[in-house]
């Protein structure tokens, strides 16, 4: 039995699939592919799958992956070939090989956020945030609500692209099992505290990192 990590991008129409939908998407694709996939051995056998780090509905990603098991040894090219045409529009396969890192080593994720609105207002909001002592938001988890300080947690906010009505900035957020910060928390904070009128905001997950900020890829 071989564990395979299927790496893919989630773009276009596929960003509207929730994590739960994505499980169905992948199970159907693996079934359709005819690959010798390993099934759980219970009363109700199903394809065994683990997603490395769940992604919010509506966010794009360059760095998604899911692990599953094969009963036979197969080359990367053969696996990708078998999966061709089995996935919905927007899911782009990148690779299929033995996992190169343990999912538990994920500690950070980099997101690009593009805001549509008045350039000056957005830049001003980012500057105010930069100058602020602290940025307290309420995070809702399964265990309840808790207050966290975004200033201590989000690193390296950098504006990467400026247009009249469109600003893109990048930043690194805690990610993974111990603490996961959704970039939406920062967006909500900026909107509420600095009165920017964001018409739209689009989010892309770019990379995953380990505790020393080495890219996991």
């Amino acid at each position: 039995m071989n564990t395979i990590r299927l790496k893919f991008r989630k773009k276009g129409l596929s960003i509207y699939y929730s994590q739960l939908d994505l499980q169905r998407v992948m199970a159907r694709a693996l079934k359709k592919s005819g690959l010798p996939v390993w099934y759980s051995q219970g009363f109700n056998p199903h394809i065994y799958m683990t997603f490395t780090l769940p992604l919010s509905l509506g966010h794009e990603s360059e760095c998604e992956s899911v692990d599953f098991r094969l009963n036979e040894e197969m080359s990367e090219a053969d696996i990708l070939n078998a999966l061709e045409g089995t996935l919905p529009q927007g899911i782009e396969l990148v690779g299929a090989a033995a996992p190169d890192y343990d999912a538990r080593s994920i500690m950070f994720a980099k997101y690009d956020i593009t805001l549509y609105g008045e350039k000056a207002d957005i830049l001003n909001a980012l500057n105010c945030y930069e100058a602020a002592e602290q940025a307290i938001v309420t995070k809702t988890t399964k265990k309840g609500k808790k207050n966290i300080n975004l200033k201590e947690l989000i690193k390296d906010i950098t504006v990467t692209d400026e247009k009249d009505t469109e600003i893109t900035f990048t930043a690194i957020y805690p990610a993974g099992t111990p603490l996961n910060i959704n970039p939406q928390l920062l967006l909500d904070f900026l909107k509420e505290n600095y009165g920017i009128e964001v018409i739209d905001a689009f989010v892309i997950r770019k990379n995953l990192f380990d505790k020393d900020l080495n890219i996991l890829q």
């Binding site: 699939y17 929730s18 359709k32 005819g34 099934y39 529009q89 739209d200």
Partner: protein, 617 residues
């Protein structure tokens, strides 16, 4: 494809993937290469519409034509409606995201009466005028198909034409004819007159209806000699007719989220309350090899792990056991589960239950429909108490412990004794369970009884009868609960009589109701089939304001001589046959399944031959 306006709307709502398309199996064509664009509209949510096999059949049939592109469109849920109105996004089809106004034909499927307001909702969101008479050549042709078109007179003013019967062929014929007529620069009226000459195409505006003073119909005529009666279309060689094996698979789930194969069409039973049992006649089954190979291919293409053998009565397929044997050769290996959704109590054999339960055990559902033998004879549901006993025992022996029983109340000739019979039947089922030494251990029996309010429908022997009033239904429901009280093994659920009343009004309604539907829509009625959206008061007001008595349509016994709103439409079964069956019901006389004995219903004329080889048996 998805512009920023739509993207922004999608990020503000629940389940955005309802509106994005892009599922594996959906068809994208280049619009430059197609002559006719057809928008198949399902006036309910994506999850409901994507459960519908008819959509997949028509989508497949049309898209197999190189010059036609068929796309899908569903009713947006309330959150999306708000976004579309706020952001000025016209209703679009999922594949191209083009607005419905960019299509040549916009076709709605009418599956149930309570979806009528959603048709108006979708037209308005697309910016299309409601009434057919207000649309000139610049608008798409707006049409309807599905079971309700056997009497969609209440919606007649909104549609340019309707498809009667089975759509596999005439949807294609209409597209090709329209292409030809458009290229020849014909007017809308000329186009409609030409389309009315195609088998199964009904153009309401070509028929004039006159009324008597008592509001019944005086006459139906056509000034352009449109066919009277207008006859439905069928697939004559259903046995060898292929079915879709690669379909768009919803990635966000659907109500019925499994591969579906229609194994037979029509029904031999002739249950007198059942509209489907008459309007889908004649009975035709599909070839077992065709089903087996197609089902395998369907599962391969879609990745589904369950395949449902659907029909009105799957166990009436003459080759069912043989078919299951064939299918189990590959389903077990591929980990595919076979579901048989409509089994009959009277031919549920031991080997059949074994075959089904080999794959996965769940609850079992039967429909005795009525609680006493006398009433079952009246409705011609030829099921005996012994058969219910035999079947339940078989099922319990095979490891089932939960049984669901479907009943109706308000059936013609029903008394309180029959209501008590529903409770008695459920109690007996529980007794059967505990009388068996080899029952499943460690589990108690559970019987759920679900009781619907009977709605008399066109083209059934009960099309003449009055529906029970809300008061009668309430009294019967209360009595049933009383009869089941103190039995925790019986769970009772029943339908809301308000929606059944409305359904009865529209089922046998006429063209005067178009205005009422539009008025109720304008008062905010949409998604009437959804408990959380249904607003009965809107409807009561809309009827009152138009001076229309709902009881005239629902609670009135009709004479045989009365011209019904659907009498100029021909679904194969003749009115004479329906009268004969109704008269037999008054004597509690049953009829045999029609593969055993022909009662001359008339549907064989659609086939052009006898439906069965009677002398062989």
């Amino acid at each position: 494809m998805i512009d920023n306006k739509l993207k922004s709307a999608l990020l503000s709502i629940q389940k955005p993937a309802r509106y994005t398309g892009g599922e594996p199996g959906c068809i994208i064509k280049d619009k430059k290469d197609t002559d006719i664009r057809f928008a198949f509209c399902f006036p309910d949510t994506y999850e409901v519409g994507m459960s519908h096999l008819g959509l997949k059949v028509i989508y497949d049939a049309l898209n197999k034509q190189p010059n036609i592109w068929c796309e899908r469109c569903f009713a947006p849920w309330t959150d999306m409606i708000e976004q579309m109105k706020e952001k000025n996004i016209p209703l679009f089809a999922l594949e191209s995201k083009d607005p419905l106004t960019a299509f040549d034909i916009v076709g709605f499927t009418l599956q149930y009466e309570l979806s009528y307001t959603n048709v108006l909702l979708m037209l308005e969101l697309a910016g299309i005028p409601f009434y057919a008479k207000d649309r000139d050549e610049s608008w798409p042709l707006i049409c309807a198909g599905g079971p309700c078109t056997c009497n969609a007179e209440p919606m007649a003013d909104f549609f340019d034409f309707m498809f009667l019967g089975e759509g596999e062929f005439h949807t294609i014929d209409v597209c090709n004819k329209l292409n030809e007529l458009k290229k020849a620069g014909k007017s809308k009226k000329e186009i409609l007159v030409e389309l009315s000459k195609i088998d199964g195409i009904y153009v309401p505006s070509l028929y004039q209806i006159e009324y008597n003073d008592d509001n019944t119909i005086k006459s139906v005529s056509s000034d352009v000699n449109a066919p009277i009666p207008c006859t439905k279309a069928i697939v004559r060689d259903f046995k060898n007719h292929p079915f879709p094996t690669d379909v768009a698979v919803p990635m966000i789930g659907a109500i019925h989220d499994r591969a579906m194969v229609e194994v037979l069409r029509g029904c031999v039973r002739g249950c007198r309350f059942c509209q489907a049992g008459f309007i889908y006649r004649p009975f035709r089954e599909r070839d077992a090899d065709l089903i087996d190979l197609g089902a395998k291919e369907l599962c391969r293409c879609t990745g589904y792990e369950e395949v449902s053998l659907t029909s009105l009565s799957t166990s009436d397929h003459p080759q069912l056991e043989e078919l299951l044997d064939k299918m189990m050769v590959w389903t077990e290996k591929e980990k595919v589960n076979i579901a048989l959704p409509s089994l009959r109590v009277d031919n549920f054999s031991e080997s059949l239950v074994e075959k089904v339960s080999k794959v996965r055990k769940s609850g079992l559902t039967f429909a005795p429909e009525a609680g006493t033998q006398r009433l079952r004879d009246i409705i011609n549901k030829n099921v005996t108490e012994e058969e219910i006993e035999k079947t339940c025992k078989l099922a319990f022996k095979a490891g089932y412990s939960a049984v669901k029983l479907y009943f109706m109340m308000g059936l013609p000739g029903e008394t309180m004794e029959d209501i008590k019979g529903i409770a008695d039947t459920a109690k007996k089922v529980i007794e059967y369970y505990y009388s068996m030494p080899d029952r499943p251990k460690g589990r108690g029996a559970e019987v759920s009884i679900s009781v619907a309010c009977f709605v008399p429908k066109p083209f059934t022997p009960f099309q003449f009868v009055a529906q029970d009033t809300a008061e009668e239904f309430k009294a019967k429901q209360a009595y049933l609960l009383e009869c089941c009280a103190n039995n925790r093994r019986i769970k009772v659920s029943y339908h809301d009589s308000d929606t059944s009343f409305l359904e009865a009004v529209f089922a046998r309604g006429d063209r005067k109701l178009s205005k009422v539907i539009l008025d109720a829509y304008k008062k905010g009625s949409i998604f009437d089939g959804w408990f959380e959206c249904f607003n009965y008061q809107n409807w009561l007001d809309a009827f009152a304001e138009n001076g229309i008595d709902m009881a005239f349509y629902a609670n009135r016994q009709r004479t045989f001589e009365e011209i019904n709103p659907w009498d100029h439409i021909n679904y194969g079964v003749t009115k004479d046959f329906l009268i004969r069956e109704y008269e037999k019901s008054l004597e509690a006389m049953t009829s045999q399944p029609c593969n055993k004995q022909c009662y001359n219903c008339g549907a064989n004329k659609l086939l052009g031959r006898a439906c069965f080889e009677y002398n062989k048996a």
